[in-house]
Amino acid sequence: MKLVFLGRFREIAAPHLSDMARPADVATLSDLQGWLAAREPGLAGALCGARSQIAINQEIVRDPGHPIGDNDEIAFLPPMSGG
């Protein structure tokens, strides 16, 4: 799986996280959030922020039970600030 960290999340996340094999105990989005929070304490608060969002294969996903596959691209998006 591929993890993409945008904006300030990119500055917090360790580079080795971007391309990694899906851990055996990560089957859903909620598993992945828990897995990341346990290993990257700096990211834990950021990933659970009320205005942060997650995209899987470039679609916003809000269901924590959404399955995670080996070839999925999961992006962590801080609050957006365009315009």
Binding site: P78, M80, G82
Partner: protein, 152 residues
């Protein structure tokens, strides 16, 4: 629909000039250009970094533009958004709308800009003399976005 995300500086006048094309059904073209300022909230800005998520950013801008066009009955919409390192004085965003009538053209530009402020996958980082910081949508931006939704 003309959506472009570019790392190069762009000329809003040239972009707008090509937008109307040869069409004869548009009675109004309204546009907005947002520029990088050298100061925000009393802090000096020497450079703005705009980060995007290639592919997703373009897709989401197109989705918001289609939604705006559907609601406002817009004939066509154009968005050019700068990414990468931007200097004060340079254009960041251009939004233009074609409509039969001016009221709806103005409204389409306003609504789409409100969406762009809060719903577009772009992240801004301001660098000033005291360091750099990431920018997040203000309460004001969120309130405008909520109002756009109510009026839909």
């Amino acid at each position: 629909m003309q959506i472009r995300v570019t790392a190069e500086a762009f000329d809003p006048g040239a972009e707008i000039g090509g937008f109307i094309g040869g069409r004869r059904d548009a009675g109004a073209l309204a546009s907005f250009v947002g520029y990088c300022r050298d100061e925000t909230h009393g802090r000096k800005v020497v450079e703005l970094l705009i980060e995007h998520y290639p592919g997703f950013t373009e897709k989401e801008i197109a989705r918001l533009a289609r939604e705006t066009a559907r609601r406002q009955g817009t004939l066509d919409l154009m968005v050019v958004h700068r990414v990468g390192r931007v200097q004060p004085g340079e254009p960041i965003v251009l939004v233009a709308a074609l409509h039969a009538h001016r009221e709806q053209a103005f409204e389409a530009v306003r609504v789409l800009m409100d969406y762009l402020k809060t719903d577009t996958p772009l992240w801004k980082k301001e660098t000033g003399p005291d360091g750099a910081r990431w920018i997040e949508p203000t309460e004001h931006d969120q309130a405008r976005r909520a109002r756009a939704e109510e009026n839909a």
